[in-house]
């Protein structure tokens, strides 16, 4: 009866300290976002503008993709197209193989996470080094990211210190974030200088100029783009924006929504390759054109992966990213999972929401996230046949008042029984960490009929 996310969450929730730390540090991001937003006098207007631009963009996506391709080619970029995750991975690994690449430095890209690129490259004997500190931590731990902006937010400094000691030979017992960061910096500097190729994601792609825009705080993408002579950038086809003058609209929203910074430390607009180097852009569909074809779900393509909906989501903050068991957790992960089909079990996530609506209210792109979850719930109805019969019977009872009233009277009698814990109790999942409220004995309707004459 209870959902798989809830069963997975049970493990996480058993560790009270870890839950509190996770909840507090994720909520801290949400509060930083609030403080930053309070300083922007045109915040709601910006959200409106950004979602309007994206709506326009998506309605003319074919035209803008072609324009981007033409302009990027003119600037010396090699453009590739991938229908799905497998072909994206194939394109990247063949590019690397053709140049005998042994070592790749990678900066954060949720798309390559979605496509499962790393294992494909590793199977071909290529060493892939994730360079974003959080991503490096989860890579060394052999885990996926648990958050799209702060991948290792579920780990404590002590766990990270022990991990570094085990994998990089750093001093035992070191748990100071600054010293740990320095140690990782030194280790990764070496990787940066040795690498033969860099793979990055793309935050925005400007159709007008054929530019890609990559945003980081750590400077890892910039190091990647500056050092090796081969740079492969992977982008979902929804990352386009029409023109350079649209870019500030999105940039003013992105970092504030993500971490409360007024802008990320590095915003690099890259037009064409570095002199003497190669730049390849892989445009990936992987379920996106299907979303585009659905009026109910198209809005999700406006996502700029800021993570604000995760930070505000009380379910995500309590259950943690792994409970979702998808490349992208949280509200946007639940909305995208059924169409990206990276992993089984995505459809269930539409249920994993109390529908509080904070995600939709916080989203800089004004995506109606909880509305989209409801849309998935409607579309996936056919799955649970038994549940369907039950709701039909209940709905029938509720449209026939006499029955509804009778159910009410009888309910009182069953109530005390339901409140006890016994095998097969249909109220068992309510009774998990909760008691049934006391039944008043007589419904409002019965009281009203007894106490008042109803004039017809």
């Amino acid at each position: 009866m209870t959902a798989r996310l809830d069963q997975r969450a049970r493990e996480v929730l058993a560790d009270e300290d870890a839950v509190r730390r996770h909840d507090a540090s994720v909520f801290d991001l949400r509060q930083r976002r609030d403080a930053a937003v309070a300083e922007v006098p045109d915040w709601e207007a910006l959200r409106e503008r950004a979602s309007g631009i994206k709506r326009h963009l998506l309605d003319h996506l074919d035209r803008y993709l072609e324009r981007f391709e033409t302009q990027a080619r003119a600037a010396g970029v090699r453009v590739h197209w991938a229908t799905d995750a497998a072909s994206a991975n194939r394109i990247v690994s063949e590019l690397l193989a053709a140049r005998q690449v042994r070592q790749v430095i990678k900066s954060k890209s949720m798309l390559t996470e979605e496509c499962g690129l790393n294992p494909v490259l590793e199977a071909r004997g290529i060493e892939v080094v994730d360079t974003d500190l959080g991503e490096r931590i989860v890579q060394l731990a052999g885990e996926p990211p648990s958050h799209i902006i702060v991948p290792a937010i579920h780990r404590s400094r002590f766990e990270i210190g022990a991990l570094f000691h085990r994998t990089m030979g750093t001093p035992e017992g070191e748990s100071d974030p600054e010293r740990l960061t320095r140690l990782a910096r030194a280790d990764l500097r070496r990787k940066f200088t040795e690498a033969d190729a860099a793979i990055t994601g793309v935050n925005f792609a400007v159709a007008e100029t054929g530019s890609i825009v990559v945003v980081t705080n750590e400077g890892n993408a910039d190091l990647g783009m500056s050092l090796p002579n081969l740079h492969i950038a992977c982008m979902g086809l929804e990352k386009l924006i029409p023109a350079m003058s649209d870019l500030p609209v999105f940039l003013r929203l992105l970092a504030r929504s993500a971490t409360g910074q007024p802008i990320s430390v590095y915003t690099s607009v890259v037009t064409g390759p570095r002199p003497g180097a190669e730049l390849h852009v892989v445009i990936v569909d992987n379920g996106r054109s299907e979303l585009l074809a659905s009026d109910g779900h198209r809005g999700a393509l406006g996502c700029i992966r800021c993570g604000a909906c995760l930070n505000t989501c009380p379910v995500y903050r309590k259950a943690g990213g792994y409970a979702y068991d998808q490349p992208i957790p949280g509200p946007i992960g639940a909305v995208l999972a059924p169409s990206l089909r990276a992993k089984e079990g995505g459809a269930e996530l539409a249920q994993a929401s109390s529908l509080c609506g904070s995600c939709s209210a916080v989203c800089p792109m004004r995506i109606d996230l909880h509305g989209q979850l409801l849309a998935w719930r409607r579309e996936n109805r056919t799955a649970g046949a038994l549940e369907r019969v039950v709701t039909f019977v209940a709905a029938t009872a509720m449209t026939r008042p006499a029955l509804f009233g009778a159910a009410g009277r009888t309910a009182a009698n069953f109530w005390s029984l339901l409140g006890r814990r016994f095998a097969g109790n249909p109220a068992a999942s309510w009774l998990h960490g909760r008691e049934l409220p006391e039944h008043p004995g007589e419904s409002f309707r019965a009281q009203w009929l007894r106490r008042r004459e109803t004039p017809k």
Binding site: R21, V40, P41, D42, R49, G52, I53, R55, H56, H60, L61, D62, L65, H80, W81, T83, A98, L133, G134, V150, P151, I153, R157, P177, E178, L180, T181, R185, R189, F192, N217, E218, G219, N220, D222, L223, M225, S226, L227, P242, S245, P248, R252, P262, I263, V265, Y266, T267, S268, V269, V270, T271, P273, R274, D285, S289, E290, L292, A293, R298
Partner: protein, 212 residues
Amino acid sequence: MVATKGNTEVSAREEILGRIRLAALHKARHPGQHPPPALPGGWETFAGRLESVGGTPHGPVAGAELRRMAFDLASTRAGDGRIVAEPTAADWLGPGPWQLASDAAIPHAYEDVAVGFVRGRVACAENGAVAVAGSDATSRALLVLCQHLVLIVSVDSVVPDLHAGFAALPADAFGHHHLTWISGPSKTADIEQALVYGAHGPLTLDVIGVER
């Protein structure tokens, strides 16, 4: 590249664009330019914001004072380390203890640089960011490889908001591989949200405002 692979990619392109064209779309219009927000501009506002993102503002300075300030910064930040200035920054600074960066050098040549001097084109008050055009950072690696970065901008180039910031960029700003907005020193908070400056890029960022 292998011919068959090329064909697969061509058909992938047609398949994707075909699917997009089949989607029932609405033809929403572009909502137009965002009107300028009511935000304060000026060097002081920029300097305050730069400090809040971990950078250090200096100035405004003019003429000989600029040179003196650059010398001071070079010695405090660099110690005995190597100092490199991009040619357009050196134009403003004049001769000094810095070597000139050259686009002919391989990027790895900047691995041991302690201090880099680079000229910025526009400074944005709302976020403390400075725009560095590709033509002013011909060796892009210097921006991120140096341990300490010093950006030099004209105080007249400060704009209040990012829309104005993009609008103020010269026409050729995007023409040399990259245009990079830099707001503060590189940083991370990936370990328990503790803010640490100097993630992969420079440990410090100084910005000198110049009156010309």
